[in-house]
């Protein structure tokens, strides 16, 4: 089965790159492409799924990912540039955000130093604002964690730029329910990766509430989801 895909120039090219991560869904590589530093995300075939279903799902996720990236950029939310998409081998070639740190690493190191903590409140506020803008555009990220947010230094202004990455599970939806679940996923991830940050997450939500035009319905749903968990009960 591997042989029929061996003739793909893209897959041959990937073998020359550095493998960064192997997940359940995709492999992520780093390297250079046409003179630019890139990250390539390859959604590989899953042998345990029916081939037709696998192809459909993989294709749809690739499509949703690049669509969401474009939608976010149009709305003024920083995301990596999409350079090239191969819809036959399901590879997305993205801008490598050089010189960035994940919000996760930033929060961890700031929490260790007394002086760094003050800046975290402002960062939480900024995250809240950006997520509000994203949800107002009806983009649901699907996998909000502090590892999927990068801080890119901007030498001119001094204030770092927040870049959202990994739209692999994203989709378009206007439903407050979906936005509430998106925030719930972040809350869970945030509080488990960064202990004792309840106040920080509250600051994030406060800023989200102030920034989003449709926040009351979303926060209402978030409170509902907190009581029942991410999955809706099918009973009753």
């Amino acid at each position: 089965m591997a042989a029929e895909k061996d003739n793909s120039a893209v897959l041959t090219f990937l073998r020359g790159l550095t493998l960064l991560k192997q997940g359940a869904e995709a492999r992520v590589y780093r390297g250079e492409f046409l003179g630019k530093p890139v990250i390539v995300k390859e959604r590989f075939r899953k042998e345990y799924r029916h081939p037709t279903l696998d192809e459909k799902l993989t294709h749809r996720r690739t499509v949703q990912e690049v669509r969401s990236v474009l939608r976010c950029r149009k709305a003024g939310i920083s995301t990596p540039v999409v350079y090239f998409v191969d819809y036959t081998s399901h590879c997305v070639f993205l801008e490598d955000i050089v010189g960035s740190v994940t919000v996760r690493d930033h929060v961890n190191s700031a929490q260790r130093s007394e002086t760094g903590r003050g800046g975290l409140e402002a960062l939480a506020g900024k995250i809240g604002q950006i997520l509000a803008r994203m949800h107002d555009e009806d983009v649901i990220h699907g996998d909000l964690t502090t590892s999927n947010m990068l801080l890119r230094g901007r030498p001119e202004s001094g204030e770092p730029d927040l870049v959202l990455i990994d739209f692999g599970l994203s989709y378009a939806s206007a439903l407050p329910e979906d936005k509430g679940v998106d925030l719930y996923v972040l809350e869970k991830a945030f509080l488990s990766t960064h202990p004792n940050t309840e106040a920080l997450f509250d600051a994030l939500l406060k800023s989200y509430t102030a920034a989003s035009k449709k926040s009351s319905a979303v926060i209402g749903k978030l409170n509902e989801v907190r009581l029942r968990g991410r999955k809706r009960s099918m009973v009753g």
């Binding site: 120039a9 046409l34 499509v63 990236v69 474009l70 149009k74 540039v81 999409v82 090239f84």
Partner: protein, 182 residues
């Protein structure tokens, strides 16, 4: 002394296809655009003739050429030839005739960008095509001085908000990459 011609044009290797490159040559004061266009349509010129005012940066062409060559290899081109595919890939829409109108050259144009995709052995063809142009070759980097930024922004529908998150080139590249699934 005139600068060596090799400094005038720009070649970039197509990383996905070792041995192949995309070469760009830019000309001003072109007097035979109508004739060139006819030769390209008729197949005597194996290259893409592009209106430089719609191009932000030579990298935009490199990305369009990479995609065209890739689609030719996997048999998924939307147009009839490799070079019409390069022109089509530049467009933000999936309308083929419109993309030729906007990104191809018109009979009375006096600036032309020529794009070739070739192997190492076919490099001589660059000089062959260059000799067909009645105009003055200038360095490809000067293309940004010819770009009609307001027109580009309008065609690609680049929003004011988007200017805050990146360059015009980046906005254009994203639309070129994603247009197949819009």
């Amino acid at each position: 002394m005139l600068p060596a011609v090799s400094e005038m044009h720009q070649s970039q290797q197509l990383d996905l296809f070792p041995g192949y490159s995309v070469t760009q040559c830019l000309f001003k004061d072109v007097r035979n655009a109508a004739e060139l266009r006819k030769s390209a349509v008729g197949g005597e010129i194996q290259g893409a003739l592009i209106n430089p005012s719609m191009i932000v940066d030579p990298f935009q062409i490199v990305v369009a050429a990479n995609k065209a060559f890739h689609l030719q290899k996997v048999g998924k081109m939307k147009t009839r030839s490799l070079y019409s595919e390069v022109i089509f890939n530049l467009s933000p829409t999936n309308n083929i005739s419109e993309s030729f109108k906007k990104f191809g050259i018109a009979d009375n144009d006096n600036t032309v960008l020529i794009v070739l995709i070739h192997s190492k052995e076919d490099e001589y063809y660059i000089d062959d095509i260059r000799s067909k142009i009645d105009g003055e070759q200038i360095p490809v980097e000067l293309i940004s001085t010819l770009s009609d930024v307001p027109k580009i922004k309008k065609l690609y529908k680049v929003t004011a908000q988007e200017d805050c998150v990146g360059t015009l080139l980046e906005a254009v590249l994203c639309r070129m990459a994603v247009k197949d699934v819009l």
